[in-house]
Symmetry: C2
Subunit: 292 residues, 2 copies
């Protein structure tokens, strides 16, 4: 998309003492509320005064070069670094500091003002679980393996190309869930029964469905003009898959107009309420959930 002249253009800086991934996601949500085009510059790992100074100079230089006020989203927990960045002539939107003070008052304790406390690394127990979840999910993609299926937290089912694989990986990465996924194929519809391997795990099954028109276009990218991709066949498969899920009382949702983030969140909400369980975690833990 090229910006029309009447749409403001800005340079947006993402300044963080960590990866900046959270700041970037929040910046995107906030900026999406405005008709503005922007080029985005990341300055991650700003954890020393020296780095903050060089970030400040970079922002200042852009301000002078373009003559337009840059927009700075920052997640910095050390006040000294925030103060340094704020010396640059820019619109400063710090997304941490404004919330630390009221929280400190409510809790009646002082903040650590230490960097990297939300940081997880390979030595972290819950981080290990998340890595195991990713390995499990890779090993159980597309029905590759039926081994240790009982270890799965969630088993996704649906017709080929309904979005099972990216959703499985996202569930593993974001929520630390061990996810297996199984395609529902014509043989299953002929037998009019779920794959044998899944029957013992019925309570873990979650279905993905998709609009036949959408499925047909996705499949056509893979196998143009095939029976597999034909609208008629996609209609048939989707209809049979949805009927099978209904027959077996399996929750399902349509991936057609949803992102993997939305699909994953919807699945976790459904599964969690099914397990009637809250997420209870210590600080600094991953988002790993126990759905068991």
């Amino acid at each position: 998309m090229t910006a029309q002249n009447d749409i403001p253009q800005r340079t947006v800086y993402i300044v963080s003492d960590g990866t900046g991934i959270t700041a970037e996601a929040l910046a995107r949500s906030i900026l999406s509320q405005f008709d503005v085009t922007y080029s985005r510059i990341y300055i991650p790992f700003v954890d020393t005064l020296k780095k903050a100074q060089s970030a400040r100079l970079q922002i200042q230089a852009e301000r002078e070069r373009s003559g337009v006020t840059p927009i700075v989203f920052s997640t910095l927990v050390i006040q000294e670094l925030v103060d340094e960045i704020r010396l640059a002539d820019a619109l400063h939107l710090d997304v941490i500091q404004p919330f630390v003070e009221p929280l400190s008052q409510e809790l009646g304790i002082a903040p650590h003002q230490k960097i990297g406390l939300s940081h997880q690394n390979m030595e972290n127990e819950e981080y290990k679980l998340r890595m195991e979840a990713i390995n499990f999910t890779l090993a159980h993609d597309d029905g590759i393996s039926e081994q240790n299926l009982e270890e799965a937290d969630v088993i996704l089912i649906g017709v080929s190309r309904s979005g099972k694989t990216p959703t499985s990986l996202y569930l593993a990465m974001q929520y630390g869930l061990k996810v297996a996924n199984y395609p529902l194929i014509p043989e299953d519809f002929e037998r009019n029964d779920l794959p044998q391997a899944l029957k013992a795990q019925k309570h873990k099954l979650f279905g993905l469905t998709i609009q036949p028109e959408r499925l047909s276009s996705v499949r056509n990218e893979r196998r143009p003009n095939s029976h597999y991709a034909s609208l008629a066949n996609c209609r048939q498969e989707v209809m049979q898959a949805e009927r099978m899920m209904l027959m077996n009382g399996i929750n399902y949702l349509s991936s057609t107009s949803k992102s993997i983030e939305e699909i994953s969140t919807a699945i976790v909400s459904k599964m969690r309420s099914a397990y009637a369980q809250q997420v209870s975690i210590p600080p600094k833990s991953t988002t790993a959930l126990n759905l068991k």
Copy 2:
């Protein structure tokens, strides 16, 4: 971790008109600054007044049940929904609204106050690229395939179990990069040369290394008491891998004490500066980068 009596315990609500993933990540960073244990309750997809009312009632009920003030992190773009949630007796930390007003003033335009504008779905062009990146990355994990290697944005190399696979997947999911990864194996060290397939793509190579002690313990989980997992062998492999990367002028970093988020961000920063390129995107786009 069970909370000691002297550590405050709270119930934290994540209320969002979307998935709540951003709100959750920010809440974790902010809460990590305090010695507080908390149980976390997600209320995603709060996009109607009715849903906001039921969320408000749920929070209010918890307040009355526990006698302790709940903490509410919210990402809601419609003021009416924010106002409804704020009726609950809680500490309200809205992480969108405080930034919309100053941004509106700076840009001189009004916010849309529409939900889901940062939303990407299957019809979204950049979202498709992200899905393609995930498929490419899966197809090129652990040197499985050398097909279309020229399409890769990044090719990770390193000894077995140095963190290549989860990092590759995260780069694909978060940054929309097509990532291949290749193990460096004893045969390569004997030949004292990079895998043949990688030579044409040298400019895309990025190395992961790891502390031998750490590698040995990771490998021991897979193959206890094997030569493969022995500290002596791990020391040897890591030393040879690092030497090969140095010899070939390949950037590398240690995954030992880093999360996949940190490793990925560091790689993207390095690659981006190597390509001397900024990220330029329209609003509502994914974080897909073009490193080419």
